[in-house]
Symmetry: C2
Subunit: 211 residues, 2 copies
């Protein structure tokens, strides 16, 4: 099944919301409610979910638990992904300490930094190496995913080292600036300042269209 | 001019890239090069830019500086936005220390936290108040934008306090979980774990469509 990127982004958000609704004891939810809580149009929600064969009952909505299970299945991983993170500064530490990152889908296998106060020891239970060891450690541990939480000027160098490991397949970049990678390597970027600019842009012209 | 959200996201990325190219002394750039560097299709780049009246010269491309100026103008702010941030933990500190956040478009006017080691003093030159003071401080300083960098369980409470200030118009939420806000308040969310899930999803099925 081919799924376009924005849909996946929304699916992930549906999943989170449904888990919360489940925890709170809700049994059904309407597309309107989902839309209101996530800031999408109800029609968008219905379109997304019907794409995966989920049709809500008119005037009733979707069965929370079933819908949640279905989305979990679509988003499910065939395995536990081995992950490394380069950069254990404030941003990296924030991620390490975020309970959401202790997902059963992923396992942090290695940290990399340049600061001698961090390298050579465990941080939150994960060993931290000097970043020059990225190729050997990633190769040996078969780490396919690198989270980049280093300053912008160090990002390309870290990625190049990870590419040299031959294990790298995907990068989550929390750094600004462009990255050059071979075509077969997937890069997803999170640029918080860009998101802030987007917000300011919409505040400046309230007539702009969302989504 | 009405601009859909995904376009703005790309515009912000074009802007960043063009600033880098300018700094590196490049005078022209093709839609193919822009696409390669940012991970978009060249056709998408041409479509986006032509929407704003920028037509690249066939076989030559776009004039870097002129294109950059044009995008700056589209993204420009009519004023300096006053911003507050709730939560000065690892994530909040990462943003405070990120040079990108020292943009001339924004001014951090206030920080809020619950930790007595942080409240009542300046952090990176910005005063930190107890979060219960959100309504009075935001109202008095006419702060329209709140960055939420608090744990998920505290997010709604902080937003409710900011809404009570009557000054709030936009929220950048770095926290997970749904937020309930009045319709006139814009919310942009950055969910890093969701972005990681997206990456893993694409790694699992390499035939999926990007963008």
């Amino acid at each position: 099944m081919r799924v376009a990127e924005p849909t996946i982004e929304r699916l992930v958000q549906y999943h989170r919301l449904l888990e919360t609704l489940k925890d709170e004891g809700h049994r059904v939810v309407s597309s309107q409610q989902i839309g209101d809580l996530l800031g999408f149009k109800a029609s968008q929600v219905r379109k997304d979910l019907s794409y995966f064969g989920e049709i809500g009952k008119r005037g009733v909505g979707y069965h929370v638990e079933r819908l949640c299970d279905h989305i979990v299945e679509i988003l499910s991983s065939p395995k536990i992904w081995r992950i490394a993170m380069a950069g254990v500064g404030n941003m990296g530490t924030a991620l390490l300490l975020n309970p959401a990152f202790r997902s059963p889908k992923v396992r942090f296998e290695a940290l990399f930094d340049i600061d001698p106060r961090k390298t050579g020891r465990d941080i939150s239970g994960i060993h931290c190496w000097h970043f020059t060891e990225i190729p050997s450690v990633m190769s040996e541990k078969e780490i396919e995913v690198l989270i980049l939480a280093v300053p912008a000027h160090a990002a390309q160098r870290c990625v190049d080292l990870a590419i040299a490991s031959k294990a790298l397949r995907g990068v989550l970049a929390l750094t600004q600036g462009s990255l050059v990678v071979p075509e077969e390597i997937l890069v997803v970027r999170v640029d918080i300042m860009a998101e802030l600019e987007k917000l300011l842009f919409f505040m400046k012209q309230p007539e702009a269209v969302w989504g």
